[in-house]
């Protein structure tokens, strides 16, 4: 592969060009309710090339590797039509490296039958309570080999194995339908998804319990969030705004997002860190061949860093941070998060809750979104807190805040810490889902707007 890719790159007439090629083998098992919707394996192979013109880019994705030279020529032609701003790339040292996946139990060595039995067992557990009407159980293992070569002499081969399971139980009582979800797994082997019987039982219990919960009332509350939500909060409430591709060509936004600006209390640290083994957002080199690293976005409450690609780094006079990622060969790399979290501090979860006179304890997450100023993050369930005690279970509510004010309202940061990955992931610019992990400690935030009835 190395010889073929580099020889194709030799002849191209362009300032810079890169080739990514990907081989993926996926095994999926998917239950919906009692029925096995799908079980089987498939294979995809394809590549993406990116060619830099003087004032823009061209990106072409393809399935037929044998036509690579034609695609390179076409990309070089299209890159010349792009008449935007001059493109510059921050320097990156040429590297040659081959990375093999470290896996305890390679899912390729496990028979389809065994995976079938595992999923059937979990699904039966999900469906066992009487009130659970339906379920969704999605298992998948993915073996990926990614090849990267560019005109600067970098050649990187990265192998990875992801094994992931998502379990949803849907409970029903008349027209009241409630669901609970848990995603487990990440980069690693079959061992990640074994022994989850207790988890399956817990998920269906949570769904049934939600039937008894009352819809939340809309309003402003002091909210305590669990580590799952705390992670989504880090991701939505700040992570996206630190992605430099939103900033680098917008002078007004750059002024607003100046390094050193205070965003939160001095105890607040927000980090993006790809090289954490086992996490969904784990990788060693990004899709521009730049090494991954740990980047502080907020340190002691102040903005200290952005996430960069080579292009945004060049424009902003910074170093690339290894955050240029693409969900597959079909897309060009763009600036993305990896594993994003809030660092833990000193307070126990019990203290954080007991100090609340009146508020909400929100748990689990169903998703989040941001428009760079406002964000939402949606819990699975919650409890009303009265005089420091959890008094009533509530459901169907969403939390929202303003990035520039809500972070200041963090009044307590917990001493616990969990990172979550699983299926799903982040969506941006049509690329979804990108595997990411998010996490943090319990947090207490004042004046969060809660949408409900």
């Amino acid at each position: 592969m190395k010889v073929y890719l580099t020889s194709c790159l030799e002849k191209i007439k362009a300032k810079y060009a890169e080739i990514r090629y990907e081989e993926r083998r996926i095994t999926r098992v998917h239950y919906v309710g009692k029925e096995l919707e799908f079980i089987g394996e498939s294979e995809t192979r394809g590549g993406g090339i990116r060619v830099q013109g003087k004032n823009g880019w061209s990106f072409i994705s393809f399935n037929k590797l044998e036509k690579l030279k034609d695609y390179l020529n076409e990309a070089a032609r299209q890159a010349c039509i792009a008449r935007g701003r001059e493109v510059r790339l921050a320097p990156a040292h040429p590297r040659v490296e081959v990375i093999r996946a470290k896996v305890k139990k390679d899912p390729r060595q496990i028979s389809l039958e065994e995976k079938y039995h595992l999923c059937t067992r979990y699904n039966q557990l999900l469906l066992s309570p009487k009130k659970v009407q339906s379920s969704s159980l999605r298992y998948f293992d993915v073996h990926t080999v990614k090849y990267f070569a560019n005109t600067e002499g970098t050649y990187i081969e990265q192998e990875r194995v992801d094994t992931i399971i998502g379990m949803t139980a849907i409970a029903r009582d008349g027209i009241n339908i409630q669901f609970a979800h848990e995603g487990i797994g990440g980069t690693g082997g079959y061992e990640l998804v074994e022994g989850l019987e207790d988890k399956a039982e817990e998920v269906s219990r949570r769904a049934v319990e939600l039937l008894e919960a009352e819809p939340a009332s809309a309003g402003k509350y002091t909210v305590v969030v669990d580590p799952k939500l705390s992670g989504v909060f880090a991701h939505e409430a700040f992570g996206h705004l630190s992605e430099a591709d939103f900033l680098y060509e917008n002078d007004r936004l750059r002024e607003i997002m100046q390094l050193g600006r205070r965003f939160g209390p001095p105890e607040l640290n927000i980090v993006d860190e790809a090289p954490i083994e086992g996490q969904s957002g784990y990788y060693l080199y990004d899709d521009e061949g730049v090494p991954a690293q740990k980047t502080y976005l907020i340190k002691e409450g102040k903005l200290v860093g952005y996430l960069h690609s080579r292009e945004t780094a060049a424009k902003m006079g910074a170093q690339p941070t290894g955050n240029a990622r693409a969900i597959s060969y079909r897309y060009p790399p763009i600036v993305r998060m990896s594993n994003t979290y809030i660092e833990p501090q000193g307070k126990s979860k019990e203290e954080i809750i007991s100090e609340v006179e009146e508020g909400i304890y929100a748990r689990g997450f169903r998703g989040g979104q941001t428009n760079l100023e406002m964000f939402t993050f949606c819990p699975e369930e919650g409890y009303l807190i009265k005089k420091g005690k959890l008094v009533k279970k509530i459901r169907d509510f969403n939390l929202t805040g303003n990035i520039f004010t809500t972070l200041f309202n963090i009044e307590a940061i917990g001493d616990d810490f969990v990172l979550f990955g699983g299926p799903g992931g982040c969506g941006k610019a049509g690329q979804s889902p990108l595997p990411v992990s998010t996490g943090g400690p319990h947090l207490r935030i004042r004046e969060v707007i809660v949408g409900g009835v």
Binding site: G33, G40, G56, I60, S61, R172, I175, A218, E249, I449
Partner: protein
């Protein structure tokens, strides 16, 4: 493809080969200037087999390896879902307008110009705004071949233009998104620029709204938020699994009598139109709601058969997935109120245009709770300014049961065609 079918049939009782060849070109703009020209060349095939009464499936985008593809599909059939249907025989297919030669002959250079035109229309008037967006043209060919003698193929084009105008100010951000899409080429630049400029103008002042319940107009752009629950509710698969709240509701009123909705796979040059569905069943129109009464669910072959009904030609898939029911073009029929009349009627209320955080709540039951990304306050029949930093919430089914008026000017937002709709009540928190 014939060879794959032949090899598959040597081991399985029934088989179906589905192939998609696709070519997409996208012109991307960032910070008011062109950034990149991207293309996609894709060729993939999916093989579905029925062996021993069970369904097997596999896909690949390397057609050379037919034997491997067949083996994987067969091994998946050992545990696969029980098949309640047979692959369909050929039937009469209506011609559907979903291919426009103007799209396939459209030059990249022209797309660049069209994008630049729209951006300069906006920035000439509003130089502080920064626009990003994309123009995309796609051309694809689908062929289905099965063991019941069906051999159908069609060509389809798609053309889309999306633009997002953004302004960052210390006191708050404003982002407006607009777009148009369909199967045919049309010059959208002035239309899109005009809509964005109008929104910028309306959003110049921020106004406050006290928390409470208000009358609300959902624009065409915002209506998919409410229709999404209904889309899930009528989905034959969710009905069959009994996770839809609409189970056993056929023939019963579920929303206001002014609401009429159909699924129309034949709508000329609409994004969801096609002559046949993902299993080769000829496309059709299906009445979903007539005068507020639920008439039909949408099905593919498998779910239809399990529900003792027939396919409504709603099997949707790509080459690498099994078919599953999904709406083609969902049409909410227009009523007789103009947007101006609806606004005039409001003493105190809001207009919802863009939201963030949709699809994260309990979509099945219709609950929604979203941040109002772009919305306006109406007082005494006039738009007063932009409302932000509030959450709006409600239940889609309850809202659709309290419709004051359905607008008369409908437009497509992706595959949903809807007019603005005026509702009695949403909850505003902030």
């Amino acid at each position: 493809m014939e060879k794959i079918l032949e090899i598959a049939l040597s081991k399985a009782q029934e088989a179906e080969v589905y192939r998609v060849r696709k070519q997409v070109t996208t012109v991307k703009f960032q910070a008011n200037r062109i950034k990149s020209i991207d293309s996609l060349f894709e060729d993939g095939v999916g093989l579905r087999v029925i062996k021993g009464g069970r369904i097997g499936f596999s896909s690949a985008n390397n057609l050379k390896d037919a034997r491997n593809l067949v083996d994987r599909a067969l091994s998946s059939s050992q545990f696969g879902q029980k098949a309640y249907f047979h692959f369909p025989s050929p039937a009469e297919v209506l011609s559907v307008q979903c291919f426009d030669p103007q799209v396939s002959s459209l030059k990249v250079e022209d797309m660049v110009e069209e994008g630049e035109r729209a951006i300069s229309l906006i920035t000439e008037q509003e130089p502080q705004f920064s626009c990003e967006g994309e123009l995309e043209k796609a051309e694809f060919e689908v062929r289905i071949l099965n063991s019941s003698g069906l051999d159908e193929s069609y060509k389809k084009t798609e053309y889309a233009f999306f633009l997002y105008a953004f302004l960052a100010k210390e006191e708050g951000f404003l982002g407006i998104e607009e777009g148009e899409s369909g199967c045919s080429y049309q010059e959208y630049s002035s239309l899109i620029a005009e809509r964005i400029l109008k929104a910028i103008d309306l959003a110049k002042n921020n106004v406050k709204i006290p928390p409470g319940s208000y009358r609300a107009i959902f624009t065409s752009k915002a209506m998919p938020l409410l229709l999404q629950s209904l889309k899930s509710g009528i989905n034959g698969k969710l009905v069959q699994k009994k996770s839809s709240p609409l189970v056993e509701k056929i023939g019963k009123p579920i929303v206001c009598p002014v609401v009429n909705i159909l699924d129309d796979g034949l709508f000329p040059f609409a994004l969801g139109s096609r002559p046949i569905d993902g299993e080769g069943i000829p496309s059709r129109r299906t009445q979903i709601i007539k005068d507020g009464v639920l008439k039909n669910f949408i099905y593919d072959l498998q779910t239809a058969s399990m529900m003792k009904s027939e396919s409504t030609a709603n099997a949707t898939r790509s080459y690498n997935s099994l078919p599953s029911p999904s709406t083609t073009n969902l049409i909410l029929e227009p009523g007789d109120a103009s947007l101006e009349e609806m606004i005039k009627d409001i003493k105190e209320g809001i207009i919802v245009d863009q939201v963030i955080g949709s699809g994260q709540g309990n979509e099945l039951t219709g609950e929604f709770s979203v941040n109002l990304d772009l919305g306006y306050k109406v007082e005494e029949g006039k738009i007063k300014g932009r409302v932000k930093d509030v959450m709006i919430s409600g239940n889609a089914y309850k809202l659709l049961n309290k419709v004051i008026a359905v607008g008369k000017e409908a437009r497509f937002v992706g595959t949903v065609k809807t007019p603005p709709v005026y509702f009695e009540k949403v909850t505003v928190a902030g």
